[in-house]
Symmetry: D2
Subunit: 347 residues, 4 copies
């Protein structure tokens, strides 16, 4: 009953097998290999257009690179005050951009709104060159509270961003979960909704370590390859990154893996929501459940072997009862049922 994180999950068997299959003889280094070429086509099919991309091993690298393309070092990146990029990436965006500022903006249930963004600017209006110019809007999809932006919500936000001359980045560490949740296509949730750069995660959803940075705006892509290289994120044996992602995208594997995770989270959420004393912090729209569990209930669950973390974040009232439950592609439905059974017995 491990609901600690999707980072604790194993590799999906299909992806592990793909690594073995890729291990045949020599292959050109640094992306000159055949699998990378095939991935290029596959991405074009999934996103319904050609795009620039880089393959890296971590989400922090993808996000850092993306922001370094979208903002000069003297810019401000607008993001949710609870966003991973500003709270938990150890300063990667600041490092990659060379000193940009991440401006955390409040927003309920993990989501930014045009009103919230505009209010933050009004409270500290542009004053060049004293006030760092706002240069980027970064959105997390699915959000840090397990909710999901609809294509319409995204379009509203990106239209506002464009009116402010901001580029738009999406941290899609759980993009697959959002695609499954909304039923929209990958294109509809990204460039068709005004996203310029997408960090498209696979590691949390079944890969060994593989993330894609997709750049939809040609002008932003110029520095992509040299910045990836200088960050030490260009793999010599890139075929083994390409193999993971190719398999991930082929035959909708990525969507099936995410659908499983989402289903388990929804089941957890529904099973808990009816219990007395239990309240959801936010609707469960992807693979994370943010929920208040009374202390005795937490104790009972942990006593029975369940693993999960308490949750604190800027913008949320201090609370000892809030926890996060994360499901993933390999979460066993029996674990979910066992967890709920204990919960029902223990309230």
């Amino acid at each position: 009953m491990n609901f600690a994180s999707d980072n604790t999950a194993p590799i999906a068997p299909e992806i592990l097998a793909a690594l073995g299959a890729a291990n045949e003889g020599s292959a050109p280094a640094y992306g000159g290999d055949e699998l990378t070429a095939r991935l290029t086509s596959q991405l074009e099919a999934v996103f319904e257009r050609p795009c620039h991309f880089a393959l890296v091993a971590t989400g922090s690298a993808a996000n850092g690179l993306a922001l370094s393309l979208a903002s000069p070092p003297y810019g401000q990146v607008l993001c949710h005050e609870a966003s991973h990029i500003t709270l938990e990436e150890g300063g990667a965006p600041e490092f990659y951009t060379g000193g940009a500022k991440l401006a955390g903006i409040p927003g309920t249930q993990g989501k930014l709104t045009v009103d919230g963004l505009q209010a933050a600017i009004d409270a500290h209006p542009p004053l060049p060159p004293h006030v760092m110019p706002r240069t980027v809007l970064s959105l997390t999809q699915a959000t840090e509270l397990g909710t999901v932006y609809t294509p319409e919500e995204l379009s509203t936000l990106t239209a506002w961003a464009r009116s402010q001359a901001l580029k738009v980045h999406m941290d899609g560490a759980r993009f697959a979960n959002a695609v499954v949740s909304t039923g929209a296509s990958a294109a509809e949730l990204s460039w068709k909704a005004g996203i310029d750069l997408l960090s498209f995660g696979a590691t949390k959803n079944g890969a060994l370590a593989a993330e894609l940075l997709l750049v939809f705006d040609d002008a932003l892509a110029e520095g992509l390859a040299p910045r990836q290289k200088r960050a030490g994120h260009l793999w010599s044996k890139q075929r083994f990154l390409a193999a993971q992602l190719l398999t991930y995208l082929e035959d909708d594997l990525w969507l099936r893996l995410a659908a499983h995770a989402n289903t388990q989270a929804r089941r957890l959420s529904e099973g808990l929501a009816d219990l007395p004393g239990v309240t959801l912090e936010a609707p469960t729209e992807a693979n994370e459940v943010f929920v208040h569990l009374p202390a005795p209930l937490q104790e009972a669950l942990r006593g029975a072997g369940a693993t999960f973390y308490p949750w604190h974040a800027p913008g949320l009232a201090p609370s000892e009862t809030r926890v996060r439950l994360v499901t993933h592609h390999a979460t066993a439905p029996e674990d979910v049922e066992a967890f709920l059974a204990i919960a029902q017995k223990s309230v």
Copy 2:
């Protein structure tokens, strides 16, 4: 009736004269000159101990250098949410530190408190290496709302900082005004109160362009000279920075200039506070008055030729009536009286 900023002020005549006096023949470049040597002694007298220092032309340079000595690039600098270093220095601290994050903390009347600081940490607890470690506390003296920390308040804050392994920086762009306001000595308001690095301003208080970065902690001073040089802030003809500061500190000129500015601000503040519809945003303890003036009153004053700015900052409720009035070493008392006379007539 120019109350726009102490940056609009002229050079104090004594300091201008000192530049002429320093212009005799050749002098060794880059700080090897005699005036720099004399300044070393003078600083030791004023601060009651030897200290490391650098002479630079702007406060942003002094602050940026200070923070680059006190924090690694992966650290967080705790500062007031309305502090100049995070709002209006164009990202200088981020540039100088190589990517540190400035964490804005709320605090009433421009002042940080231990409770406020601790609450910010509790809302986002340390989690290495994901959460950037807090490395520095930066305090502004006088504050961005014209208030002043007492030595006792500083000691409380720096004791807490030390318990958290934080270095303490003071942005003393208006340090002279704070010294005059509290009646404490320069030492009592700095290293004796636990300050490790002090940006000691002179430009707003009568210099042409001259700021001192003082480093009281020997271990922090190691990178001072090379960082100053690589930032392009080592003057070849340093004698002309030293001359300004030497004259500034000799015969208490700095205190006399600041006392004049403080007196004018207090007079303004007292004269306005009694008027109907006028309320102070914060007590006037240095050379800045933050005050709410009804719109018709503002109009009347501006119509009569007065210059001043509206004031907005994170942490302050949006308001169209809040303005900032700044006095300085050369503010004419007649201007203050004229301003108050118009105000009295216009309410």
Copy 3:
């Protein structure tokens, strides 16, 4: 007959199998897993002492991190003028250090000497703060010309470095090949010879993507974890890096793989050296052969399907006949023999 690069090689079967074996159920993320714990012990055994380490996917990341620990941003890193860190890492050292300068120093057959280093300093003597202080000596082992430093040579260089207050980094992308070549132990070729930080490569020698940064100097390790994180080089599923390296080091697999590569290179070198018109650029002491092949011979070999690159580098006279032949853990002896047979026929 692919002698283009050891980066084109596949994964060693033992290491691929280890990835599958590591894929059992959940595991704590970010290095809290059991395999990382076991690797800690294994490293202590191989290096005969405990050491700080970080697991990353590329050599550029390991080198960049190492130099960022060893040098402030205003320092100079002394390295061979043909070293990979200054020529072919896209500026990774400059990025990670925040702007240090890499000073390329000449040296025959890829090796630096005390005389060469001292001469470079004498030609541009220290002049603080104008001249950036020399802070690090970085050595490549095996060198960029396929030669190997003996423990005695290393000790001589590191003793000089210590006399200049320099930290010493070793770029050991081909460290295994050097260990096999010298017959010295891992400890004798690193910390016992005065090395402070070692980039210990595995990718070129059979791993999928796995490099170790080892830090032998406790004081230098302080920033290791936060710098790794902010660079996006902390894997969530670190068990899959640890699994590669654990298997690499267990049962001397790393030495067996390197021995195979070295043997093939030596065979190539010996087979070519006797041919008329063929001369070695440097002795073949690891897994790279730098050799002058007359143009018709090159043509014949390429015509028969052999792959290899011409070689140019600062410090080498311009030449159209110089090529590099690289062997690796999976180089087929039959390919070597076939290559030599064609060469013999074609001269």
Copy 4:
């Protein structure tokens, strides 16, 4: 008899007077003042076109800012191996650019040539993304050996640079001396000869501390103001920088000051060149004399009170007899004659 450096010189009386004249009452801060506006027009007249500019206090700041506009952080700046930017600015270019590499290129008598530049590229050909792309050519005018590029030489170099997609920066710390020396106009020695960015010095030629960064390429100017601010190089009381430069440029003061310095250097050079055992290192075309003086002669001169430095630089053969003699706007002709008289007596 101080020939140590033009950095030891005093302020020209006209410029000192201008500071006093500028000190009348309040003036808008940060460049909103009237003197800055007048300087804008004056620059347009001198350079025969409008241009973007920033006022700063040091040449290192001007150079660092210029390079940060012209190169991404992953680029290489081609410059003479003895250039000030790579040898003696403490890493300012690396800091400002965020990690660009300065590639020192040999060239006789302080000058770069197309052949020398092309040879350096051929020795280490482009290989993206491994080899950092060459992005900028930086030329020093007058050069570090006291020679001067003619407009024709500049045009040849900048045409080549353009063919390589390089931007061209000129470090004009002694630009005035070059203008006087060549008889060309400011425009002919800068943008008309293909220069994109010019660091136009005044400090060495009579200012207190004032340098101009001129940007002739509109596209490069975008980041100028925010980068100047974040570097702490935007003066609040900018009128006092503008006043210096306005006076410097009015009535050809800058040319008269430089002409005086050049004349004294030529006299020194001619007077020494005929002495037995004395040889010039390079022709004296500006205000610096690089000359070999036998040790006894140096001793005699120093014994008589003369001040000057020995000179070493990469690209020059090690020599104990090479010295640098620098003249400036305030060098007394009697000092020159006295120096020569002693020299003649002492050989």
